[in-house]
């Protein structure tokens, strides 16, 4: 069954369409990549899925639930996690709190229970702490739980952002240029890492990349965007030699 479908999605700012006639069919468990040059509409796609923008036309459905018209926190609570192209951690908060905040929708207690410390409050808070520490341990960040997020080195910040997105308990994970600012060696490690979290957390992953190497290496299927239009779709082998893709990437050398 398709986990995420997009049908004829269009989003325009004024007269300029960042995304036009976009269709997508993402199967459960799939790892799919969306590539395209800067300004091709990739991040717009994520913002449409997660409700930051509201699509001008078309429909986006997650497990049969319409997402267009829902707010970001409603959509996230359906268990869609995401990261950001330019890391957006809660910089002045602790590593632990960054992960705990993402438990908001799962924490099952009312304001009154929180203000008076009664009912489900203590049990739920304890559960959130346990789960957060479990995630931090998995990502080798447990010893840094009390550290302020902005003090982490760049690589660890990226890792914390993924841990935070996983705290949502996602079925679908959206990764926005996870390889930004990495050298080829680091990209190899990242590829291994993404495959590992997919297995470990039973994820379906949709990933945006600017760099071809990562996408070609791990994605089963790819979509290529240019100026908001889908110009090619298929497995990496097909994309690699697609004439329109070569044209869009002209000057970036041979793909792969």
């Amino acid at each position: 069954m398709a986990l995420l479908t997009a049908t004829n999605v269009r989003h325009c700012f004024g007269g300029l369409c960042a995304l036009a006639d976009f269709n997508l069919n993402l199967e459960t468990g799939e790892l799919m990549g969306v590539i395209g040059p800067n300004g091709a509409g990739k991040t717009t796609l994520f913002n449409l899925i997660t409700g930051v923008y509201r699509a001008s036309e078309g429909s986006i459905q997650f497990k049969g639930t319409e997402l267009v018209g829902k707010t970001p926190h409603q959509i996230t609570a359906l268990r869609i996690g995401r990261t950001f192209q330019n890391i957006r951690l809660f910089r002045d908060l602790s590593v632990l709190d960054n992960v705990r905040i993402a438990h908001y929708a799962q924490a099952d207690y009312s304001p009154l229970e929180a203000l008076l410390q009664i009912g489900r409050y203590r049990r739920e808070e304890q559960r959130i702490i346990e789960n957060s520490r479990r995630l931090l341990a998995i990502f080798h960040l447990e010893a840094l739980a009390g550290e302020t997020a902005k003090n982490l080195p760049y690589g660890l910040q990226r890792r914390l952002e993924i841990a935070r997105a996983l705290a949502i308990g996602p079925e679908l994970l959206l990764l926005d240029e996870p390889a930004a600012g990495m050298n080829p060696n680091e990209i190899d490690l990242l590829m291994e890492f993404i495959l590992w979290i997919r297995k470990e957390f039973n994820l379906t992953i949709l990933l945006i990349e600017h760099q071809m190497k990562l996408v070609m290496g791990i994605c089963e299927r790819m979509k290529v965007l240019d100026f908001g239009e889908t110009i090619a779709e298929g497995p990496p082998e097909v994309i690699q030699n697609h004439p329109k893709v070569l044209e869009a990437y002209l000057g970036e050398g041979p793909v792969g």
Partner: protein, 295 residues
């Protein structure tokens, strides 16, 4: 002319006078906001100190109108630059709220410092011979005319400086981009100081004219006038110089109309309700444009 028209024309004149004073102060708010994205809460008090400078120049130095005006503007400009250098510059990279709190602190300081030196309200002497003309029932005083024309003149001068000179271009560049413009060789610190000097100088001019129109001045007079001027800047679209002028005349007009029909206690109520409604309907003001946040 019929009595109705005369009455309305009179109100329009009054509105122009009040609006001109608001506009001169509003420009300082909007310029500083444009260049530093900071609300300079002390600006209303700079206007108040300007009125006291005017008092000092007129009474203790016995100067006539034009030198008084120039001296007041110069004094206020110096005060503005001093505030910027001593209080705001160290905070340019601190959290924004610290700068706002500092501005509030500077404002309270100016009020109470003036109060400590001048415990009783002061009277500004008549610096100009006030002639009143009767134009078909509408009375126009020379003072009113001078206030309106002088304010308009200063505003056009400022508009020219901002849109047609290298300094103005640098100001607009800094307000547009704070990361790369300094790398282009624009002397940011100097331009910011000039901005404060011009804004404060205009507030000084406003202080003088206010003092001539409403001769009793006291250390707390800057609070409410300052807020009103600030509302004007927001109504017009903060950061936008022409917007500030338009906003000031709108607010002046509304206040005069309210005073004409309702008890004077409703004036602030209407002004702030107007602000509230506008902020809800069109938060970026009449000439401002919405800022789009990038995700």
């Amino acid at each position: 002319m019929s009595e109705g028209i005369v009455y309305w024309l009179q109100q329009v004149l009054n509105a122009l006078q009040l609006g001109s004073i608001y506009a001169l102060i509003a420009l300082g708010y909007t310029m500083v906001y444009g260049i530093l994205t900071m609300i300079n809460f002390a600006h209303g008090d700079v206007f108040m100190v300007g009125a006291f400078f005017c008092f000092l120049a007129a009474v203790y130095l016995g100067l006539p109108f034009v030198p008084t005006l120039l001296l007041t503007m110069l004094g206020a400009a110096l005060l503005g630059v001093m505030i910027e250098r001593l209080a705001y510059k160290p905070l340019r990279h601190a959290p924004r709220v610290s700068a706002i709190i500092t501005a509030l602190g500077v404002g309270i300081f100016l009020e109470n410092f003036t109060l400590a030196l001048a415990p009783y309200p002061k009277n500004i002497p008549m610096l100009l011979e006030n002639v009143t003309w009767n134009l078909g029932g509408v009375s126009l005083s020379s003072l009113q005319l001078i206030i309106i024309l002088l304010s308009l003149g200063l505003m056009f001068l400022l508009d020219f400086v901002v849109h047609r000179t290298p300094v103005g271009m640098a100001m607009r560049a800094i307000s547009w981009d704070k990361t790369f413009v300094p790398l282009m060789g624009v002397p940011v610190d100097l331009i910011i100081s000039i901005t404060f000097a011009i804004g404060a100088g205009l507030a000084g001019a406003a202080g003088t004219m206010y003092g001539l129109a409403y001769p009793v001045i006291d250390p707390y007079m800057g609070i409410m006038v300052g807020w009103k001027a600030f509302i004007s800047a927001v109504v017009g679209g903060i950061g936008n110089i022409r917007g500030a002028m338009i906003g000031a005349y709108i607010l002046g007009g509304v206040e005069i109309m309210v005073a004409a029909f309702l008890p004077s206690t409703y004036r602030d109520f209407v002004a702030f309700t107007l602000l509230l409604l506008l902020l809800i309907v069109r938060p970026y003001g009449i000439l401002g444009s919405p800022r789009i946040q990038k995700v």
